[in-house]
Amino acid sequence: MADAQSIPGEAQWAAWIEQQREALQQPAPDGAAAAGPFKMGEEMLNAWRNAWTVSNALRVGAGQGVADLLARLPPIGPAREQAAAWRELAAIQAECQRLEQELQTVLMGVQRDALELLEQRVRERGAAGQPIASYRELYDLWVDCGEQIYAKLAYSDAYAKLQAQFGNASIQLKARQQQAIEQALKQFDLPTRSELNSVHLQLRQVKQRLAVLEQGAAARPAKPMTRPARSTVRKAPAKRKSR
């Protein structure tokens, strides 16, 4: 039975490893050969690690390359339409996220600049002998600074473009999502927004035609609204002339 004292514990192992590491890091007194097997082992280990890293990078790179290539290939086969739709959806979603991130960064810049301006204003107030007297006053001053910085950004062409780009991308994303949902609804023979639109459009056209007809009818000379019942208009049969 092994004595508990003779089995190295975790701390002992750690100490041993550290000892070996320090030994490996000692400069060789007379060349590499003098480092013995430890030095050679370290070089081998490094070579193996480098090779693994490079191969892994190549593998990941190649995988990504293949994925990129596949993404650029035109979809083929019976599910071609669906594949193309989903691919467009994924692409516009990625674009949306990118633009949203860009917009967030710009707006974070407003917060940062507002704080800098706030600091400047607080110092100015202090120097003018009108120090900030309460949190509320500080808050209101921060709001003023924020609106001032934001207004400068809001009126810039760059921001208007970025905001519109994000909005336009969001619209495209929603349109693609609608298409996907409509496709699914059709599988179950459920009505879609496109069909409803079609009905609304037809109703509108009917209403317009009715309005034109009503105007035309109103413009014509008045006629009896209802034709009298046949029995009342039928003339009595002419009396046969007596022969």
């Binding site: 900030i132 509320r136 808050y139 709001v143 934001y150 909005g167 336009n168 619209i171 459009l201």
Partner: protein, 359 residues
């Protein structure tokens, strides 16, 4: 320069006081309950699709001035509900007009839905608005009536006045955009690069919530934060709290914009500034503001961040009338209806101006 310092004790006191007020405020808010807006008595006199035309009843009090004989039809915007004109009894432009003997009609556009998504700008001007004018003419017996257009409703009213000048005796425009390309018009600036065709094709009607977000984005620090922090100052005043809640209810009660109408309005009027340039056509007819030959009163707000004063003032050099008046109200886009100064001034000016042209 010395570093600014905060009084620690003062800061702690502020925070404690704020917390107490906040808790009191929550309790006060919970007791406000339901608030009512647009309560001045009125009767429905015409309805079509989502639209309802109301006629306001005369008040049970003697008018402050001689009655104005010719009725006044108010054409509100399709953005938000028309109750801003009658927010509460003591802040009501409509009540102010009734008190001064004006016979008031109001168009409530309702809540457009999917069935309205293909309604055009022309449908609103030559259709709904024109039919409401006809109804008021028929009820009142006057061949020509007075029309008051508000904001986007003012743009519709101007278009109507240009196309059907013989139906109007007087025209009043309030915070009405005419020149959409003034440099301080942020909404136009932002819309320049937006693909409106794709937007409307995708959303159908433009969601009111989307418009709300846009309006809040004009002044985000003030409108999404400071406004509510400022509420803390009113928490001890139940009446002020109710006023706040009424305004809040009005602001976020936002109908959707009929899709095609919105697309045409934004593209033709906002992006391309066609009304200003005399290039707007509705139903195959040119909307030429030189045809607006009836007396015009143009009311705008000096600190309007939605419709900058210059956007309204441009009207003066476009209309054909020789009887053109303006009134610059102090305050912003909403203050022109509800601020204390506006309550005293605006209905009085409108009523007096109409009375002087009542023939």
């Amino acid at each position: 320069m010395s570093e600014p310092r905060f009084d620690q004790q003062q800061a702690a006191h502020d925070m404690a006081e704020f917390n107490q007020r906040f808790m009191r405020g929550l309790q006060a808010l919970a007791q406000v309950g339901e608030v009512q807006i647009g309560t001045t008595p009125k009767d429905e006199v015409y309805a079509e699709d989502k639209l309802v035309l109301y006629r306001y009843r005369a008040l049970d009090e003697p008018p402050l001035a001689a009655p104005v004989r010719v009725p006044l039809l108010i054409c509100y915007a399709l953005v938000n509900r028309p109750w801003m004109m009658d927010l509460q009894p003591d802040r009501s432009l409509i009540r102010g007009l009734l008190r001064r003997g004006v016979d008031v009609y109001l168009i409530d556009w309702g809540y457009p839905d999917g069935a309205d998504r293909f309604s055009t700008l022309d449908d609103y001007v030559s259709g709904y608005l024109a039919r409401c004018v006809d109804v008021v003419r028929r009820i009142s017996g006057f061949e020509r009536i007075n029309l008051l257009g508000v904001c986007q409703g003012g743009t519709l009213s101007l278009s109507y006045a240009a196309l059907y000048p013989r139906s109007l005796r007087n025209l009043v425009t309030m915070v009405t955009p005419v020149d959409f390309h003034t440099p301080d018009n942020l909404l136009t600036h932002w819309s320049r690069h937006v693909d409106l065709d794709a937007l409307v094709a995708t959303t159908g009607n433009l969601p009111g919530s989307m418009l709300n977000a846009l309006f809040l984005a004009l002044q985000p620090f003030r409108l999404t934060g400071q406004k509510y922090v400022g509420l803390m100052d009113q928490l001890d005043d139940p009446r002020a709290l109710e006023n706040f809640m009424r305004m809040e209810q009005w602001i976020f009660d936002s109908p959707d914009q009929p899709g095609e109408m919105f697309r045409q309005f934004m593209t033709w009027c906002v992006k391309e500034n066609r009304l200003m340039r005399g290039e707007l056509e509705l139903g195959g007819r040119k909307v030429d503001l030189r045809n607006v030959d009836m007396p015009v009163l143009n009311i705008y707000a000096n600190q309007d961040h939605l419709v900058p004063p210059a956007a309204s003032r441009a009207l003066e050099r476009l209309v054909g009338t020789r009887d053109y008046s303006t009134y610059a109200s102090p305050g912003g886009h909403i203050g022109v209806y509800v601020s204390g100064a506006a309550q005293r001034e605006v209905p009085e000016r409108i009523a007096n101006w109409l009375r002087a042209r009542d023939e």
